[in-house]
Structure formats: structure tokens, C-alpha cells
Symmetry: C2
Subunit: 141 residues, 2 copies
């Protein structure tokens, strides 16, 4: 974890460190236990197969966690303690998908001694389909 | 899961079904496994005790998952398949905290045959401190 990231350490246009994750039913099940969200669309393969989705899907927040991990890698404590996140869930992620996160520093604004780092971020599957798209803001003091 | 929620089922001012969760180190550890985010600030109590945070904290996305569970309870498939989320992380949640989510339908907009349901949401701890605040938009067709 970056303990003391300074505004001088980051620059507009910088890419954020990608995170690549393979989604498995086992991780989805673990996630259900951790979050307490046992909706059958995530964990009951027989039930899910009969729905229009045609099979289980990962919790959206599990995929968003990958993007958050990228933000933690890039900004450490500054992200963990007071980030802002705005995202859109575009598609479901499924077991056996490989999700790659990507992000970029779009701009940095200075206001009253604080740097606001505006980032764009995306989570895509192995076919290049966007699963989550959005932005995040980190405050650096 | 609500399979087919219709615009007529929801109304401006409606409260969303609260979710109450007790945070434990065990769940945080499970979450680390599920998400692959093993940052020591979340799972290493000895390390975390020596940082300015003074102890382990839950992954922000774990707490956000509680809010998402509330959205799934309220909107089912419509939330899972294409929700929009905009949140700010205000404070860390810690083991032994009890987090309560709350939400409300602020407004409903109709555009080209689609209802956009604008919700406000909040996750608070047992002291009433806001851990996450923000909003979400769900599309109903």
C-alpha cells in the first residue's frame, strides 16, 4: 500500500495498473458468503440456467472490486479513505470469464490545497465487451 | 428475485428494503479470497494496528455490496442487468461494526418508453456515521 502518495507522484495521462482476474463459480460462492448476498442467480446453476440469463452471473460488486483493487494499487490509502466512484454496469460477468481492468488519469484539479485526481476506468471481459465503465475521483492532500 | 418489475410497482418516495449486516474479520478474509484483494490493511491485524487507521478495515466494496443487495431486493433483474451507481466512501468500516443500508426512490423519469428510477442510498454504522453515501439509477422497461 502506498502510504504517502504525493500529488507530484502522479500525472495526467498516466495509466493505472491493470488487474486481470479469472472469474470462477467458486469465487462467486465465496463472495456470496462474504457479502451475505445469496441470490440464486449468482449461486444456483440449475435455477440460473432456466432464467433469461441462461446461467449464473457474478455479483456486479465482485467485478467492481477488481476496479477498486486497481485504484488501491495506484493510490493506496488515499483511495481507501475517501474515494468517489461512479459506474455503470453494462453486462454481466460469468464463471470462466477473464476480466481485465484498465484506467487512466484524465485530469488533476487543484482546489484549496487538495488535488482531485479524476480517473476513467473500465472492466472488460476476454471478448473485449465492457462489463463496467465509469470514473473515480481520489483526493490527495 | 423480482423477475418482471413494472414501472407501476414503484413510486416516488418509496423506501428501499434495508439490509443490516454485522462486519467480521472472517467475512473480510472471505472477501479478500473472493476478490483476490489481499491488501494487508484488510487482513493483517498486526500490520494494520501500526498504521494511522489503527486496525483492519473492510474493503469498501464489501460495504458497497450491502447497498447493492438492497438494490437487488428492490429491483431484481433490472438492477443486476444495467444499474448505474455513484457513491462516495466517507469512512472506513471495521470488524464488529454493524452496517445498515437505507435508500429511497427520489424520482422517476420517463424517456422514450423507459422509466429511470433515481434512488438515494446510504450505509451507516451503529454510531450513525455515514460510511458510504450516493445514488443509483435503475432502468425499467
Amino acid at each position: 500500500m502506498n502510504e504517502k502518495l504525493k500529488p507530484s507522484d502522479i500525472h495526467q495521462g498516466d495509466s493505472l495498473p491493470s488487474v486481470v482476474k479469472h472469474v470462477t463459480q467458486q469465487e462467486i460462492n465465496l463472495y456470496a458468503e462474504a457479502s451475505g448476498d445469496f441470490n440464486p442467480i449468482h449461486i444456483d446453476e440449475t435455477f440460473a440456467a432456466k432464467t433469461p440469463l441462461g446461467g449464473t452471473i457474478a455479483h456486479g460488486m465482485l467485478i467492481l472490486a477488481y476496479a477498486s483493487e486497481m485504484m488501491t494499487k495506484a493510490f493506496g490509502k488515499s483511495w481507501l479513505e475517501g474515494g468517489k466512484l461512479s459506474v455503470r454496469f453494462k453486462a454481466a460477468a460469468r464463471p470462466q470469464d477473464t476480466i481485465t481492468t484498465s484506467g487512466k488519469i484524465d485530469s488533476i484539479e487543484f482546489k484549496e490545497g487538495i488535488s482531485y485526481v479524476n480517473c476513467s476506468l473500465e472492466c472488460c471481459n476476454q471478448k473485449g465487451e465492457v462489463v463496467i465503465t465509469g470514473g473515480a475521483v481520489v483526493k490527495l492532500q
